[in-house]
């Protein structure tokens, strides 16, 4: 009987002391909230050079194509899970007698994949130059233009036209 009481005392003491140990700790808290907003930033560096079409070397030929690659493109993008972005380009007005083509380089993977050379076949129409852009920051990707004469026209100096590049969510 005496032994039983001792055991019971030890058990009770153990539980109570555990409570005491817990009671020796009080706590309070503060919250930390971090919001990652959507980021889609596109930039073009450099100045597009003037494309000059010169007379062909051989009579009867059309003037040779001219390339221009003075500009580069950079982009930073993040997306919600499962979504990607794309880079589109649109030429406001077509050049008379000249087809304009462009290529935007891309690193692949989450940085996006280049569609290669595309023809601005219609004015004010968007063409998809880079697709599959995920969470990435990509810098100094070459933009290459190619001007190709389609037929002889009266010599002219065209007012500069504008290409609008857009980084937008892919649908």
């Amino acid at each position: 009987m005496k032994k039983l009481i001792s055991i019971l005392l030890v058990i009770v003491l153990t539980f109570v002391l555990s409570e005491v140990a817990l009671a020796a700790r009080g706590s309070a808290n503060s919250s930390v909230t971090i919001t990652f907003s959507e980021i889609a930033v596109l930039g073009v560096s450099g100045t597009t050079g003037t494309i000059t079409i010169v007379a062909p070397g051989n009579a009867g030929d059309l003037p040779a194509d001219v390339q221009e690659n003075n500009t580069t493109m950079s982009w930073t993008s993040n997306t919600a899970s499962g979504l990607t972005r794309k880079i589109t380009g649109s030429l406001n007005v077509l050049f008379s007698g000249i087809n304009l083509y462009a290529t935007v380089a891309a690193p692949g993977g989450a940085g996006g994949t280049s569609a290669g050379e595309l023809h601005f076949a219609e004015a004010a129409t968007t063409y998809e130059f880079v697709a599959g852009i995920g969470n990435c920051n990509v810098s100094a990707q070459a933009i290459t233009f190619r001007a190709s004469v389609t037929g002889m026209v009266t010599p002219y100096t065209e007012t500069a036209q504008t290409i609008t590049w857009t980084l937008t969510e892919a649908t």
Binding site: L17, S27, I34, F36, S37, S74, C136
Partner: protein, 159 residues
């Protein structure tokens, strides 16, 4: 009779200890909300987000009260419990002021806040308005768009 006396002593001792242990208290005021946007890019298009962000130096204010006086020593442990967190993000904390009253030491260099209670700083006596600053590290454009939340717990331990 002797047995009864021992039991009475034990019960008295237990209540005494319990009362002593429950006396000390901790109060925390403040929180930190951070919004990361394109304005946080290192150098505009093509660049990554800044890696590190700091809260105000007084983002959190900690007060210790109801101690038994200058001879009553305590320590504060810190840990976080995540509601929604991202593996690349690392949270740090440091103490930026002693507050008023009491004696406070340690915790003045940034230390990582993990999921396990870790010693933050210690002291004695009542002390109020002990300021703490938080830092977030590991931010990059690779972190998916979302709102990440964690709760930082400050536990006072009577030592």
């Amino acid at each position: 009779m002797r047995k009864g006396f021992i039991i009475v002593i034990l019960i008295f001792g237990i209540f005494f200890l319990a009362d002593k242990a429950e006396a000390i208290d901790i109060t925390v005021v403040g929180s930190w909300s951070l919004s990361i946007t394109s304005a946080d890019l290192v150098a505009g298009a093509g660049s990554d987000l800044k890696s590190d962000y700091e809260s105000a130096t007084d983002a959190v204010s900690i007060s210790i009260s109801a101690t038994a006086g200058a001879s009553d020593s305590w320590r504060v442990d810190v840990k976080k419990v995540d509601t929604n967190w991202q593996g690349n993000l690392i949270l740090y904390i440091k103490r930026t002021s002693n507050g008023t009253g009491g004696s406070v030491s340690g915790g003045t260099a940034y230390q990582e806040v993990t999921d396990i209670n870790t010693f933050f700083f210690s002291g004695s006596d009542d002390a109020s308005g002990i300021k703490a600053q938080l830092k977030l590290s590991g931010v990059s454009i690779q972190v998916p768009i979302d709102t990440y939340t964690t709760t930082v717990y400050y536990t006072i331990v009577d030592i």
